[in-house]
Symmetry: C2
Subunit: 306 residues, 2 copies
């Protein structure tokens, strides 16, 4: 039996002494600037090769400062089959480097289709990785197939609960009718949080956490703190740090007393940090940015527990 | 300016005189049976080539009986880069045959990531198609980028509203608190339906429909009829016909008075119809199944309007 996913991500965080997750979102413009080449939409094979070169350097540079990386599938899919080959290599290389690789693809479907997605990303196929983000709109039918494939292999999922974007309120913050006695109790994402706890309760690792994580944005610190209370056994993947407005003090609320239970993602502010320092190699700048973010998070955690 | 998406799908339905959407969900087992080969998980290139052979024959066989096809992305992603190459060819071939191709990928993300997905499937890249299914959990931020890319190109989206699976109730049917005067008015999917109408209202085709469609399952006929009333300008993509329990009489409720406004999807019952008839070529059996479903839908529509 492979190690439980929650224990694997905990080990990766401890190894790096870092709660940083580096988002591998290789947007064409940023990669072109870093490499000093043009990514031509008419030549997807060349563009995908450039991204692979970029990602290799970035992975090697940030590896000392993070336990977890998160490729964002869209930036590979946009280049078609060649982009997916770069995604495959990126996942493979990240795992060779001892990093936990969360593919951010927000998949969602039911029955045999959900099983096919699960096989694709948590099974034994060419794109197999450590964890996958999934969308809960379809309910349990859209979640259980991922657990059936991932769980026996020590892999996990992160369910979207409360996302970092302003219009996350459109659906996620719609207030539910509970009963005539408890008027307007919960909102939609709190209902989803309950489901996440239920789905995860069946499988806890030695560290006490489950293999069903939650995506909770850094841009709503109050909600983040409340969800930490309600979901004591759930790993959080926290996007929205930095550029989107989440602060280190705010995201410190995502962690438990031991400083475990969450990783905080940053994408372009790390991988494209070289934009600010034209005289420094882009990979060196990325490594320094990851190191700095690690230190910022550690300082915020210490301040919180002081 | 290209033709509006709503008018393009209306034309495709009229051309074929058919409300059938054939789901191209080439599950390994079914393709293996049809071709008399084994799809080896260790040889994704060979498996993807077999699926391409299968899909070509299916597309040619069903083309006279449907205006719309819907490849399900999971069954291509599972084979990695080679599978995506088969998806690319399938989309290209479907469009050459004059079919409207809806990629069922249920994508969802925000900002530059949503823009990358939009570029990937509704832009000018290798996987560009006519329409894409999207998940509304992230709100408007997860929808608008698709319209910005797709609209000027005459392409559309279908937003998940009420899906066909039993646990769609987990989130979609959660009842909302409206006000102290209107207790327990709407449920989540009705709120999403309102958003779909808003997003679509900005762009109507000559046929009166918008380029923001809705996915509404055939398995809940009462909800389907109510949504048809509430969304008079929204194309419906209706899954769940046949195997999942939706009847022709039930799905007839998805159409407007002119018999427009919806396409009804069937996947394995058409593409793997040959399973029932071992002496018939699989493509012939698929063509006959598509023809029969077309006739069933026409008969149900006539009965409803008689």
């Amino acid at each position: 039996m492979p190690e439980h996913f929650a224990d694997r991500i905990a080990a990766a965080v401890r190894r790096a002494q870092s709660r940083v997750c580096v988002g591998l979102d290789p947007a064409a413009e940023g990669v072109a600037r870093a490499l000093g080449v043009r990514l031509d939409p008419k030549d997807p094979a060349a563009a995908a090769a450039a991204i692979w070169e970029f990602n290799q350097r970035i992975l090697e540079a940030v590896q000392p400062y993070c336990g977890v990386v998160k490729p964002q599938s869209a930036f590979y899919e946009v280049w078609g089959p060649a982009g997916i080959e770069t995604l495959r290599r990126t996942i493979e290389r990240a795992r060779e480097l001892g990093l936990i690789c969360i593919l951010d693809a927000k998949r969602n479907d039911i029955a045999s289709t959900a099983a096919a997605y699960a096989d694709a990303y948590l099974g034994d196929g060419p794109l197999a990785t450590d964890a996958l983000t999934v969308n809960p709109y379809l309910g349990a039918d859209g979640i259980v197939p991922f657990l059936e494939v991932g769980r026996p292999r020590g892999r996990g999922i992160f369910v979207l609960v409360k996302t970092s974007n302003p219009s996350s309120v459109d659906v996620q913050d719609a207030r539910l009718f509970t009963s005539l006695l408890v008027l307007g109790g919960k909102v939609v994402y709190e209902r989803v949080a309950e489901l996440v706890a239920e789905w995860g309760a069946e499988s806890l690792g030695a560290c006490g956490y489950s293999d069903v994580g939650a995506v909770v944005g850094a841009t709503f610190p109050g909600e983040l703190a409340a969800l930490r209370e309600r979901l004591p056994k759930t790993w959080f993947l926290v996007p929205g740090y930095g550029r989107q407005g989440g602060s280190a003090t705010g995201v410190a609320l995502a962690f438990d007393r031991e400083g475990l239970g969450a990783v905080v993602n940053s994408s372009s502010a790390i991988i494209f940090a070289g934009k600010q320092y034209p005289d420094v190699h882009y990979a060196v700048a990325a490594g320094e940015a990851a190191c700095e973010m690690r230190d910022d998070l550690e300082a915020a955690l210490e301040a919180r527990h002081a």
